[in-house]
Every structure is written in C-alpha cells, then in structure tokens.
C-alpha cells in the first residue's frame, strides 16, 4: 500500500473508531405500538402503548387519541411508563367502533424532537 493511501486509511479508521465510540443518544423512533399501526381490532382497547427506540423526557412527551371528527377521546393521562422510559401510554374509555388517530410528539433524553401519527380501526 502506498504511503499516502496508507495514511488516508489510517486516518479514516481512527475517525470511524472515535465516532463509533461516541455515546449516541438519538432521535426517538416509534418501534411499535398497541394497537398496532394501521391495524383493525375487534375489541376496544383500554389504552394505547407506544414503544420508542430511545428513552423519553417525560415532561415533554405526549400522546393523544382523536376520533374521526378530530375530537380528543383519550383520558388525558398521557405519561411515560415508570418502569420503561421508552414507553408512552395513554388510557382510553370504552370507545365505539370507528377509526381513531394516535398523535404523538416526544423528546428523547438528548432533546431531539420527533412526532408522528397513525390510525387504527375498531370493528365489531
């Protein structure tokens, strides 16, 4: 290997090692949810649970559930699960059949904000 290329490769490896060793704490992506994203369920769920890829800041992370008319239907008790900081929960009353939208906005512990929404259907 020529000296110039060897130097380039060594610098690259050193830089990759430094970067890879950094303690990453990144955007919180939605990993999965219950009810599942885009799913149809036969029984009205009593809560929505969202699992994220990163621990969340409880004070700045919220989820709400709205009906087809855009009206809030959750119990307004959105909170980060005390036993798992990656899980966001909100309670639901007995919901009628229909389409509901879950809207979330979370802040990971390194202050990155992510937001999103998805729907689920309740059928009888």
């Amino acid at each position: 290997m020529k000296p110039l290329l060897r130097r380039f490769v060594l610098v690259s490896i050193a830089a990759v090692a430094c970067v890879a060793a950094a303690p990453a704490a990144a955007h919180a992506f939605l990993d999965h949810a219950l009810p599942a994203v885009g799913s149809s369920v036969h029984e009205a769920p009593r809560s929505v649970r969202l699992w994220f890829s990163e621990p969340l800041e409880p004070a700045f992370s919220r989820v709400r559930v709205v009906d087809a008319a855009g009206k809030d239907v959750d119990a307004a008790d959105s909170h980060v699960d005390a036993s798992d900081a990656k899980v966001l929960v909100a309670s639901l009353p007995a919901l009628a059949p229909g389409t509901y939208r879950v809207v979330w906005r979370v802040v990971s512990v390194d202050t990155h904000v992510t937001a999103g929404d998805f729907t689920f259907d309740i059928t009888r």
Partner: protein, 312 residues
C-alpha cells in the same frame, strides 16, 4: 436532587424553545436519508467516511480502459440552523489495462447550503447552495483539473405522506432532487504535444441534475401499517438515484450519467448504503460499478458539541 431535575427540565425546555433540536433529514415525520450520488436538500452535521466507488471505464481515444477505485470523505457542518458548509476529498486509484497504476487525490470540494423552505405537514423542503471544485488542489495523474468548477444549485425533497388513505401504501414514497449549472473557471485548456502540435480541450457549462426515488420501510412501519418487518429490514429504504450531467455549450452536447438502484439502512446515529452504478449510455461507461458508504449523523452522536449549529 430536586435542583438537578429542575435544571435538566429547564435545559430541555430551553433547547426545544431555541430550535436547537432541528435534525438531519427530517421534514415533519418524514426522515430523508443522506443520498450517495445526488446531493440531498438538508443542512446537517454529518460525516461520510468512507464513500467507496469502483467502476471499470471504457477505452477512449488513446486512453486504455481502466479500473477506477475511489475512497472519499465528506463532512458537513451547520453554522446556523439553516446554513451550513461542507468539505470533501477523494483518493483515486486508476489501474489502466495497459500502463502503470496512478494514485492521488482529486481536487478538494467545498460547499455552502442554505435551507429556505420547509413544510412539515407536506413533508417538503427546498434549499440552495454552491459547490466549489477547487482547481489545482489535486493530482493531475488521476485527472484532477487545474481549473475550478463552481456549481450553484437548488435542492428539494418531498415525501408523499399526504396522499389519501385509499393509496396509503404509496405514502412511504419520497423524492429528492437537484438542479445546478456547472461553471468552469476556464473555457478551454491547450496542451502542446511532443511534436509541438497543440490540442485544445474545451470545458463547457453543464447542467447538473439528479433525482432520488425512495420507499421508506420505517415510514411504512411507524405511520402507515405495521406489516411485521423485523431488524434489519424495518430500517431499510430502497432507493434509486439518477445522477446526470448535460453539456450546454462550447461545441459539446449530450448527457452522461448513471442510474443507481440500492439499499440504505438508517439507524439511530449511522447509516450504511450500497448502490449499483449503471451507466445510462455508452458515453457514460459500459460496465456496472458499485458505490458504498458509511455515514454518521453527528447531531445524534455529539448533540451538545460538534453536532449542533455554531450559532444558535
């Protein structure tokens, strides 16, 4: 300690309120990955290390066919939330079928970019920038030009998450693209041969244009329908890039470029990608190459130091 928790919450609130949480590749809930062959529209703190390219080039005139391998590094840094700079260099190894292997650095590349429009609801973004290929900074043995080329351009991205529910499986689609004009700082180069004959090579203005079409499996899983994809497929984004160049004047004409189908895997702080490089016509080459990249999101790796804008 109460003081600590209050301070932590206050810090988070301050960061959010100051907009310091802006991020690479996001427009609303859409995450656009960093593309390899075309410039993406985001201003970000990121490092591509390395980008590796391999392709066999055809014989042309007196030049024999050759196998080219490139190792590149590029870094982008936000100065403000919406304005950033970039710098990159490429080490090239050219192995002709007939002749000695040539090695050396190509010209340095510097760039500036400003994001002037973003619509989170419609997952749209537009930015403008200037790329500067700095003439004379590379080795002529590997084809580095002695003159500079300045390319002002516009970059855009659009996600299709706003499509109606009856075509919901098209919502993970997104496009990004670029249009620019390459302006060489010299119109021609005259070379005097061994027998005293002069050869003039003209350097035309070029239209540099490109497009990427992406289908985001993370978007499908998180916002449209959980179809049960597991790692590593749930973080994959199939992509096709089109990187094209059209000569505009000075006796030159025609378009060269490549179509690059590939896969991008985007994780929490890094992404990797591999693409095939398929020439669009004979002038662009006659064999399929390979492009691969390891990419780091510095704003996720170092959110409180080099991963945030210098001026907030």
């Amino acid at each position: 300690m109460k003081f600590t928790s209050i301070s932590g919450a206050a810090f988070v609130a301050l960061c959010i309120a100051s907009g310091a949480v802006g991020a690479h590749g996001f427009a609303g809930k859409r995450f656009f990955p960093a593309t390899l062959a075309t410039e993406d529209p985001f201003v970000a703190d990121e490092l591509s290390l390395p980008t590796i390219f391999w392709q066999k080039s055809p014989a042309s005139g007196d030049e024999p066919a050759a196998r080219e391998t490139e190792f590149a590094v590029d870094m982008s840094k936000r100065i403000t939330e919406n304005f950033g700079i970039g710098i990159g260099t490429t080490y090239k190894v050219v192995r002709p079928d007939d002749g000695d292997t040539e090695r050396g650095f190509d010209n340095l590349e510097a760039s500036v970019k400003y994001k002037f429009y973003q619509d989170d609801v419609h997952e749209a973004i537009v930015s403008a920038g200037i790329d500067w290929d700095i003439g004379g900074t590379g080795s002529r043995h590997v084809g580095a030009e002695s003159f500079s080329t300045i390319t002002p351009g516009v970059f855009f991205g659009k996600g299709f998450g706003d499509l109606p529910a009856n075509v919901k499986f098209l919502r993970p689609l997104a496009i990004t693209g670029q249009v620019g004009v390459g302006i060489p700082t010299r119109s021609s180069t005259t070379t005097i041969g061994d027998e005293g004959d002069a050869e003039v090579e003209r350097h035309p203005h070029t239209l540099e244009w490109g497009l990427s079409i992406q289908y985001s499996l993370p978007y499908l899983q998180s916002f449209v329908e959980d179809v049960g994809l597991k790692a590593p497929f749930n973080r994959m984004i199939p992509v096709v890039e089109f990187a094209m160049s059209t000569a505009l004047d000075r006796g030159a004409s025609g378009t060269t470029g490549t179509v690059n189908p590939g896969i991008i895997w985007a994780g929490q702080a890094i992404q990797w990608a591999v693409e095939a490089v398929i020439p669009v016509n004979r002038r662009s080459g006659n064999s399929v190459g390979v492009l691969a990249q390891l990419h780091f999101f510095l704003d996720d790796l170092f959110p409180q130091t080099i991963g945030r804008p210098l001026i907030r």
